[in-house]
Every structure is written in structure tokens, then in C-alpha cells.
């Protein structure tokens, strides 16, 4: 499971861009949120990738282990995951409201309705 060099980061970046593309390009509100999720998770992967030390192990101190991976990115990402799920919940709640108000969750249909009114 050991990728050479920077490969790991590149994977994360490709995933980020896939998620970002979903956010930007898709008109469906839910799909945008899914894209946002993908985007965020990829950033988390990116962070976690940098915390790994070859031959290291999880930073839970236990006798018998010498090298531990970096705990700090984990801490940061724990926080970020929570933020991410909070975003999802909020955005989904909004989508429900939008669906109530407009009867659709397609961006262009909503725009059409807005420009009418």
C-alpha cells in the first residue's frame, strides 16, 4: 500500500476536482451537495495523506511502537468532518424548503421561476 512520491496527493486532487466539477456544473441541488461532500472528503484524504509516516502507526501510544504518524491532521480533519456533515444537513434542509417553495430542485427551473416573479 505504498505509493511512490506524490501519487497519493494526485489521487486526492483528482477526486477534489471531480467533486468540485459536480458542484460547479450540475444543476441539481442535491447533486451539488453530493459533489461538495466528495470535494470535502478528498481534501480530508489530502490532509490525512500528509500525516502518514512510512512504517509509522496510529498515534495511540502503546508500548512496542516507536514511530507514530502525525496526530495533528487527524485532529483537524475530525473537526472538518463535523463541519462537513453540518453543512450537508443545513444544505439538505434548505433543499427541502426550496422544493416546497418552488416545486423543483433544478437550478435552471428555479431561476426561470425567479425571473418570472
Amino acid at each position: 500500500m505504498q505509493f511512490p512520491g506524490l501519487f497519493n496527493y494526485w489521487i486526492a486532487i483528482v477526486l477534489m476536482m471531480a467533486g468540485f466539477y459536480m458542484v460547479m456544473a450540475h444543476g441539481n441541488l442535491i447533486k451539488k451537495i453530493v459533489g461538495l461532500n466528495v470535494f470535502q472528503v478528498s481534501v480530508f484524504v489530502f490532509y490525512i495523506s500528509m500525516s502518514k509516516i512510512k512504517g509509522g502507526t496510529a498515534p495511540i501510544l502503546e508500548p512496542g511502537f516507536e514511530v507514530y504518524s502525525n496526530p495533528l491532521p487527524s485532529v483537524l480533519i475530525l473537526t472538518a468532518i463535523v463541519v462537513g456533515v453540518a453543512t450537508t444537513a443545513l444544505a439538505l434542509a434548505l433543499i427541502v424548503r426550496i422544493h416546497d417553495a418552488y416545486g423543483t430542485i433544478e437550478e435552471d427551473e428555479i431561476n426561470a421561476q425567479e425571473s418570472e416573479s
Binding site: 502507526t57 496510529a58 495511540i60 502503546e62
Partner: protein, 95 residues
């Protein structure tokens, strides 16, 4: 060594399950694939824990199993009762 072999087997299976999830064709195939994928992840994490000599990570597997279950139930309910929003008023009978 054997853990590695086990890991490999599980990874292959995961790839296949993913393929099924992508191919569909029906919703139920996807659900099933996701479900299997979850189970496989449970195994994977358990094995990896042993692979890296830190079997205490099993907690994660346990949570996976739990969450996977809940998700599946939620999906079922979703399909049972809310197929397309609330427009379908008809009762589909007991599950």
C-alpha cells in the same frame, strides 16, 4: 502474509461490488452492492487492523456494521414508502 492475502481478496471483492453498484441496472442491485460493500469494508478494516498489529481498531469495524445496517434499513424504508416524494399515496402492503 496471510492478512495481506486476505486484504487482497477483500479488495478484489470490493472492486467487483463497486462495479455492480455502478452498473445497476436496478436500484435494488445498487442497494445490494452498497450493502455488500459495507460488509466488505468491515472485513477489510478488521484485517488491516491485524495487518498493522493494532487490532484495537476493531471498534471502527463494529461501527461500520452498525451504520451499514441502519443505512440499509433507511434505504428500505425510503423505497417502501417514499418512492417518489409524497406523491404516491398508495399503501404497498407490509414489509
Amino acid at each position: 502474509m496471510m492478512f495481506a492475502a486476505g486484504t487482497l481478496a477483500v479488495l478484489v471483492s470490493m472492486a467487483l461490488a463497486l462495479a455492480r453498484a455502478l452498473l445497476g441496472p436496478t436500484i435494488y442491485d445498487r442497494i445490494m452492492a452498497v450493502n455488500s460493500f459495507g460488509t466488505l469494508t468491515v472485513i477489510l478494516i478488521a484485517v488491516i487492523g491485524f495487518l498493522s498489529d493494532r487490532p484495537s481498531f476493531l471498534d471502527i469495524s463494529l461501527v461500520y456494521a452498525l451504520i451499514n445496517f441502519i443505512t440499509t434499513i433507511a434505504i428500505m424504508k425510503f423505497f417502501k414508502y417514499n418512492r417518489i416524494g409524497r406523491r404516491s399515496g398508495e399503501d404497498l402492503g407490509g414489509l
